[in-house]
Amino acid sequence: MELRVIPRTPAGRTASAGLGRPAALVALVLGSGALALLCQWPALRSIPAQATLNTLVTMSYAATAGVGARSPGRRGTGPSLLLGAGLAWSATWAGFWEVGPIPALAFEVQPVFWILLLGAVLEYPTGRITERTERIFMAAVLVILPALLTANILTSRASWKAYHSDVWWPGVFPDRDAANVITVLTAAAALGLTGAFIVLLRQRLRRLPMVDRRVQGPTGLALAAAGICAFLTTVLGSHHAARCANPFYLAMAVALLGMPISIGIGELRRQLVRAAAAETLARLASPPTVESVQLALIEALGDETMTVLYRVPNPDSPDGPPADGTAVYVDGAGTPRHPPTAADRLLVPVTSGTGDEVALLVTDGALRRHEDLVGAALATAGFALENARLQAVLQYRLAAVRDSRTRIVETALAERRRLEQDLHDGAQQRLLAVAARIGIARIHAGEQTTAIDEASAELTAALGELRTLARGIYPAVLGEAGLAVALDAAMEDFPIPVAVEVAGDRFDAATETAAYLTVIDILTHAADRAGATRGTVRSWHQDNGLWLQIEHNGRAAGDGLLSAVDDRLRALDGALEPAPPRGAAPRAAPVGMDDPVVVTARIPCV
């Protein structure tokens, strides 16, 4: 049977779509590289290593953006922001042209670069910045960085930045002291924002599902490293226009390169996770159990909150099948469960080749973005899920049958009590009224009482038989005074002497009736058919159970009687047990019974 997986969320593109059309991607990367080279053509001669690294940063960001825009479940402006950041990074090095306003413009591109980069990171993976703290952080970046760099440019001269004095520079209030103060403020801002970013990153990693963490962790770390480099360059007073290579800028470029590399590694790891998931599921024990399927899926999807609900075909609950045709789901233990309705849970129905729903996978809503992974896992787990469903549904049906058997036996026991009452109130009362009439007739009969005596004797016999019948169905004294009294009373005229050691505790009517009938059935058989000449009955309360031990010196009962007694006990979750429980009080062998037949029974009670 083939198994299809139909995600309920927006139809997933296949994983291969993530690679996109290779030609467009190559064009994008090469175009970005050309732009980067154009921006820093003069720098390529003075600081070739830095310029090469910068160009690589731009090209790798373009490549990452190009791949990311096509990856499944990816939404939002993230890829565009990343492409922009990559281009902006090279643009900040355009100051080496030293023509007209280019150095000033290149200087002003710096905040743009950071804003685009941070935006690209923070909007991942939802396409929006949802957290309040992250919005505040982004707003602070938007205000602080442009303000500080604009203040810097307004209070400085081009020559202070090592540019030719003939370039256009909007330094309208040149002031050394003010510039120094602003530099200190910029360094402080770089440090503060980097620190804040690291805190946000920690929070964010905790929130994200494992698969996203693997990507976002290294990316964020690379970005934090770049931020620290930015702080150091500011503190140590270096700037772009220095004609020599600056190790901090080199380090910063390397850190920035780390980001697309870590994303690439993350993607690679994701593919490996998928492969591992498939392998985990394929390795499932044969035949797979409900537990092993659940554990394998948790491992494969990296989601510990994941559960599988199995669809019950043709449910017949005690309340009848749902009238509106809604599906009945059970968990692995066969307990009916409603699928969650919370928005943060993802429900993925799994259907068989014939279109029947087999199960419903309930996972962390974050896995919406990794439907390819979920799909791959489910496709591999298909047969295992079918098998697990059979087991879960079997448990569900067993529970339903067990409940039904309990109801039947409880009803039968209650019916015995009702029947006894009916005999007492109905037939017996009528016969007794007849007896009173016979008594009246006798008064008026004078000496001719023969016919009356005969009628009276017949009536007495009928009353006696009716009484024996009613008592056999249910002894009234059991309901009124409990098991101990009823057993004592039953043993008064029992065919064989029976010692009764039963405590006077009361239990619910079904328990008392079942216990009473167990003793009477076993001992009646022993006395009437198994040649017993004496017996004992003992009961005690242990481990939330009423225990009965019945002994006699006859032959052991056949399976027919024992299984009938056992069935009645099992309907009440009790059973005939092979031996008393551990810790039961030891007891001397009953008098006159060297090797007695022992029947032990347990009925649960509180």
């Binding site: 009452q421 007492h424 109130d425 017996q428 009362q429 009528r430 007794l432 009224a433 007896a435 009173a436 009439r437 016979i438 008594g439 009246i440 006798r442 008064i443 008026h444 009276s456 009536l459 007495t460 009353l463 006696g464 009484r467 008592r471 009234a476 004294v477 309901g479 009124e480 005074a481 409990g482 101990a484 009294v485 004592d488 009373a489 043993m491 008064e492 005229d493 029992f494 002497p497 029976v498 010692a499 009764v500 050691e501 039963v502 006077g504 004496r534 017996g535 004992t536 007891r587 001397a588 009953p590 008098v591 006159g592 019974m593």
Partner: protein, 232 residues
Amino acid sequence: MRVAIAEDGALFREGLELLLRQAGLEVVLSVGTADELLARLAGDDLPDAVILDIRMPPDFRDEGLVAAEDLKQRYPRLGVLVLSAYVETIYAIRLLTPGLPGVGYLLKDRVGNVEILRDALRRVSAGEQVVDADVVGRLLAARRRDTELGALTPREHETLRHLAEGRSNAGIGQLMNLSAKTVETHVANLFAKLNLQTSGDDNRRVLATLVWLRVNPGAGPTEGTERKIHYT
């Protein structure tokens, strides 16, 4: 003789009333519940005896036995006869346990012979105890193979039966055509054979005899230990 009745089954109650009236007894009160009987009995104009059913409203459990205890506490001289549909020794034992005179436990079947009923009413109103012959007979039948009972002479055996039915020595003597003195000797002998203590109190000896009869002595390790009565 004046009698009051509490019996919830209307059919049987009417038959019983009619029977008693035809037999020349005066039925002063006939009601369907024990509570009504207690409410309507006047302390200064009591009947000689009351007849109580066991299972009556409101709960159809043991209302008659509860009412019997209640009546004996309020009116110690009132004869109380419980007329029961059950051959349960335990009910008779419960009725006799307080050791009060003038209580009796008779099967409803006895309405077929008004003389037995009249005799029981007369005895409870005279302060004797009454236990139905079938209750005693059932116990004796179950114990027929018992060695201790086997050691009794036929006369002693018959004496034991009458004794368990609640009869006084004089009553037993009358039934067996023996002098009270002879009966006394039989009682002493059979008590010795059964290892029963004689207290001389007629009210206690009926209960003691019933308890002895209903416990199977040969039934195992309980032999020699105290014979317990489960009843609360």
